[in-house]
């Protein structure tokens, strides 16, 4: 029977062979996409599980650090170039067996540094005053893959003499480098998002495979009837059917693996999340390949066997079993359950925790839409039958009512795409609202750097007067001079030198903010960069990277009115004033929506304009282009004290970008899922429509012969596809809008506007519907050809 099944599949003539190839191609597309999802997920997992050397924790550096052996001084921080983060490790080995970070064979010495391949390429191609100048010494090699998350990651290991590194506040003593996996609050979120995305188009893929293997089933079944006539049993028919399905599934799977292999370099080059992965990691595991190789043909065979249950193949021909009962309203239950689960998850979610039931609820909602779809289709068919007159609505409505499951299946992928797209369209504008604003946009090219740093001394090695520092008392043990710097910023002479250096860079407009005399007292209120409420959840600190650590109280700052005129959105002085006192601390809020609030107004009190005696609290630097920005940043990094957070200063625009990176990543994931779902769903729809035309060739041909116009049959085909699509899309859109609105109201700051999808959303939905119509329209020439008069000849 197996051999007979293979023979019937492969050597039955042109038409069966064409059907086989169409099925195989459809399966191949689905398999290639499945493998791509598995490959990306594998790369994501591999990257997340790699040893996170940057999470290494050390001990405080004591005055006798030099006696430590097999250890090193470790100072990890972040720099920025063109919005990209540079991970920077300043390191100094103490002893011959000091631990070596991954990716290199030995520690860099003083005046040496290693860079990741991407950073090394940048350093070589960009002027030193924009980037290379930040790394003292010589580039002696590149950092290998074990240390990196992807080929575009920017990492530097910079060697220092121990005495230089020990004096920096954030330096710690490390004897063992972390080799455990790094985890952030977003790791599980991304993992779960992958799962949501995978499920979102797993269903369309399975439907595509199922639909393709059912292609022209009626004609195959007639052949089975002939076999029954010569004595084949139902079991044997089942075997033959399975063999046919397995062969087409296997050919399709192999084609799909080949297609994936051809597209794998493109996939590796793309950044589904915010960063690219290494090409050799963007591959399914062996288990993934095996699952696909075995699972898809097996699923095809099971689908073929299940579909045979709907027909009775007797020696005299094929008859359909009694029409199944219509779907009941109970099919809505999973959707309702998903909505409830999602709402419960939303109630348990906050800025530090995403409740598991939130994503679970989302998954159940998507499953619920698929389960409810046939019921929605049946109701839509009833309405069509009741309210529309004419032959085409009658034929379409009856066909939909006869098998609403089959009718909905062909558009289910499109409905899921609508759901996901609507959720994103509803949520992301709110996310952007919380970060971006017209004021932030106006300040996007303004960099902020603060100098009331945090631990002037961070350890015993760079503190005088003894006494250990602690987070609660970072200035303990520091001299009065150091304390004043910590509280008020750069002393006047250092400030003058710094401002002169900045002004010398072409294309810059430095606007200094001085500390008002007498205001630099510990306020007891720590305004550390990124310590705002959403700091841990967002992309990092506010614009002023090196600033305001614990103990850095932003008392009133003093700013010149001329400087304020350069930055109109921050407010204006009253007429006649030269300088005013302003609450500069607001500028360092981690949310750009708040950090860009005006700091001056007509009621701002006048302040002294004798800046030459004032300490420099912070500086705003307006730049005219990206190259100038990097020159300014290089200058500031190399001429000012290191920040407590270890983050280089950034512009307000970069702060918005950093905050939006999570939203961007989620949007990219969902956009990818939506696009892939649309592709798969489009293929599924085409195969389904084409297949149903082949199955109904005879009645449609005879309808045409007996006087039915082709246009009427076109309308029937269109109605059968469009009606379930529109009905289910309305439901999916409504549920998605509820999800988006509930999410925004629960999580977003008060005052965030309720989601109202704009023109782009509606245009995208219209384009999707138009695309679906196009797919259906491409099947109409097939209808014309199949139902031509030539088909009547042997009736």
């Amino acid at each position: 029977m197996y051999r007979l099944g293979a023979q019937l599949t492969l050597r039955s003539g042109r038409e069966p062979l064409v059907r086989l190839m169409i099925t195989a191609v459809a399966v191949a597309i689905g398999v290639a996409i499945m493998l791509a999802v598995l490959a990306d997920f594998n790369a994501f997992k591999t990257t997340n599980n790699r040893p996170a050397w940057e999470n290494t924790q050390g001990q405080a550096v004591t005055a006798d650090y030099a006696s430590a052996t097999n250890a090193e001084l470790w100072n990890y921080g972040n720099d920025i170039y063109q919005g990209q983060t540079i991970e920077r490790l300043d390191v100094s080995g103490l002893g011959p067996s000091a631990p070596v970070p991954p990716g290199i064979s030995q520690l860099p010495g003083p005046g040496q540094y290693y860079a990741s391949p991407a950073l090394a390429a940048l350093i070589r191609s960009i002027p030193a005053d924009e980037l290379g100048g930040r790394f003292p010494g010589k580039l002696i090699g590149t950092i290998g893959q074990p240390a990196l998350t992807g080929p575009t990651e920017l990492v530097a290991y910079v060697g220092y003499a121990p005495a230089n590194l020990a004096t920096l506040p954030a330096t710690t003593l490390v004897s063992k480098i972390n080799n455990g996996a790094g985890r952030t609050v977003w790791t599980s979120f991304f993992r779960d998002s992958f799962i949501v995305g995978a499920i979102a188009f797993l269903f369309p893929i399975l439907i595509l495979v199922g639909t393709a293997t059912r292609l022209a089933a009626a004609r195959r079944e007639e052949r089975y009837a002939a076999l029954r006539l010569v004595g084949a049993t139902n079991r044997q028919i089942g075997t033959i059917s399975s063999v046919e399905a397995v062969i087409s599934g296997l050919i399709g799977t192999l084609l799909g693996i080949g297609l994936f292999a051809a597209l794998q370099p493109v996939l590796a080059d793309s950044a589904i999340t915010s960063a690219r992965y290494f090409a050799d990691e963007v591959t399914p595991t062996a288990l993934g390949y095996l699952l696909v190789l075995v699972g898809v043909p097996a699923a095809s065979a099971i689908g073929a066997l299940l579909s045979l249950r709907r027909v009775r193949i007797s020696p005299l021909g094929v008859s359909r079993r009694v029409t199944p009962p219509p779907p009941t309203a109970w099919r809505i239950a999973p959707l309702v359950a998903g909505i409830v689960l999602f709402a419960l998850g939303l109630a348990a979610t906050n800025h530090n925790r995403i409740a598991p039931s939130l994503l679970l609820g989302l998954i159940v909602i998507m499953i619920g839409l698929l389960v409810a779809g046939p019921w929605i289709t049946a109701q839509a068919a009833r309405l069509l039958r009741r309210f529309a007159s004419g032959a085409a609505p009658l034929l379409a409505a009856r066909r939909l009512a006869d098998n609403p499951k089959l009718a909905f299946r062909s558009v289910s992928g499109l409905v899921l795409a609508v759901f996901l797209g609507t959720v994103v369209a509803g949520i992301l504008p709110a996310v952007e609202y919380t970060a971006a604003s017209p004021r932030a946009a106006a300040l996007s090219n303004v960099l902020l750097d603060g100098f009331t740093s945090a631990p002037v001394c961070g350890n015993d090695a760079n503190c005088s007067g003894g006494g250990a520092t602690s987070p609660a008392n970072p200035l303990a043990g520091s001299s009065a001079h150091q304390q004043r710097i910590g509280l008020e910023g750069l002393p006047p002479h250092a400030a003058t030198t710094l401002l002169a250096g900045l002004s010398a860079i072409k294309g810059t407009t430095p606007i200094p903010i001085y500390t008002q005399p007498g205001s630099g007292q510990p306020t007891g209120q720590n305004i550390a960069p990124g310590s705002g409420p959403a700091a841990n959840a967002a992309g990092g600190p506010g614009p002023g990277g090196s600033s305001s650590g614990p103990g850095g109280g932003f008392g009133n700052g003093v700013i010149s009115c001329a400087g304020l005129r350069e930055l109109a959105v921050l407010g204006q002085c009253a007429p006649g004033r030269s300088a005013v006192a302003v609450p500069a601390g607001n500028l360092f809020d981690d949310n750009p929506r708040y950090s860009t609030q005006p700091i001056a107004s007509a009621s701002s009190p006048a302040a002294t304009a004798n800046f030459s005696r004032l300490y420099l609290q912070a500086v705003l630097v307006k730049v005219n282009n990206a190259a100038t920005l990097e020159k300014v940043r290089t200058y500031l990094v190399t001429h000012t004290p290191q920040s407590a957070s270890g983050t280089a200063p950034r512009t307000f625009g970069e702060a918005v970008q950093a905050r939006a990176v999570i939203a961007d990543t989620v949007q990219r994931l969902i956009d990818t899922a939506v696009i892939l779902t649309l592709i798969v769903a489009g293929c599924s729809l085409a195969v389904s429509v084409g297949g149903s035309l082949v199955e109904r060739k005879r009645p449609f041909t005879l309808l045409r012969v007996t006087g039915t116009q082709l246009a009427t049959l076109y309308r029937v085909v269109l109605l059968e596809a469009v009606l379930p699509l529109v009905a289910a899309t309305i439901l999916a859109g409504a549920v998605a809008y509820f999800v988006a609105t509930a999410t925004v109201e629960a999580i977003a700051p008060s005052g965030t506007p309720v989601p109202a999808p704009g023109g782009v959303y509606y245009a995208t939905m219209a384009a999707g519907l138009a695309g679906s119509l196009l797919v259906i329209l491409t099947s109409l020439p097939l209808l014309r050809r199949l139902t031509g008069a030539a088909g009547v000849r042997f009736e």
Binding site: R398, P699, L702, T706, G707, A789, E795
Partner: protein, 243 residues
């Protein structure tokens, strides 16, 4: 009447509803019709007989305007049919002709009443009047109580009666039947033929019937033989249009 099987001569005459004049039709290398001529008066029930491959179904298809002939003429009710546009021929098939095939012509998802009403709906008649007309046909063809049943659930005889009702509901002038009892048992076939003939006579429809079964052909007023794409009178008598 002579008994020789000779090529009949056709003469132009009035009173014929449908005529084929020296019609040729081939499909690829196969010459299906080779100069067939035929004339059917109004109200006649004509049987086209012949062995398999003789061209009788092709002749029916040409008469019905499904295929235009390669050569020759088809006339319907005084109008040249073969030169009409496809749209006009489709309209004629919808309004003036009815069809009963051997099987497979009903739409399985539709109910009996839906199938019967379909031609009227295609002619843009209102739903109310279309279904009223369909309901009226049920008792006539012994289909009482079956109006709401799906046609896929009917027996062969019931399905053919539904097909007949669908063919007649638009009151066609001409009914084409191609092996209407081919898939039925003898008794059921006789029932279907009885109903077809009586219905046609009641409605004043002309019938062109293709069959290979002499018992079915016996229902006809006249039989003609088709062989090798030509019309051969079984009795050998000359076929005069108008007789």
């Amino acid at each position: 009447m002579t008994s020789s099987l000779t090529q009949p001569q056709v003469h132009r005459s009035d009173g014929f509803l449908i005529e084929a004049r020296d019609v040729y039709r081939s499909f690829g290398q196969t010459q299906a019709l080779a100069g067939a001529s035929l004339a059917v008066p109004r109200g006649e029930i004509l049987a086209l007989m012949g062995p398999s491959g003789s061209g009788k179904s092709t002749l029916l298809h040409c008469l019905a305007g499904i295929f235009p002939p390669d050569k020759g003429e088809i006339w319907f009710d005084g109008e040249r049919l073969d030169t009409l546009s496809d749209t006009r021929r489709t309209e004629l098939r919808r309004t003036a002709f009815g069809f009963v095939f051997q099987f497979g012509q009903l739409v399985p998802e539709l109910t009996v009443a839906d199938n019967i009403a379909l031609p009227l709906l295609l002619n843009k008649q209102s739903r109310k009047s279309a279904y009223a007309a369909a309901q009226a046909w049920l008792p006539r063809l012994e289909l009482d109580g079956l109006g709401g049943r799906r046609t896929g659930e009917l027996s062969g005889g019931q399905a053919q009666r539904v097909a007949l009702a669908r063919a007649m509901v638009a009151k066609p002038k001409l009914l084409f039947a191609d092996e209407p009892t081919g898939s039925l048992d003898t008794l059921t076939g006789e029932l279907v033929m009885d109903l077809m003939v009586s219905t046609a006579r009641e409605e004043g429809a002309t019938v062109v019937l293709v069959t290979h079964d002499a018992r079915v052909a016996a229902y006809a007023d006249r039989e003609v033989m088709v062989r090798d794409g030509k019309i051969i009178n079984r009795t050998g008598a000359e076929v005069e249009v108008g007789r």
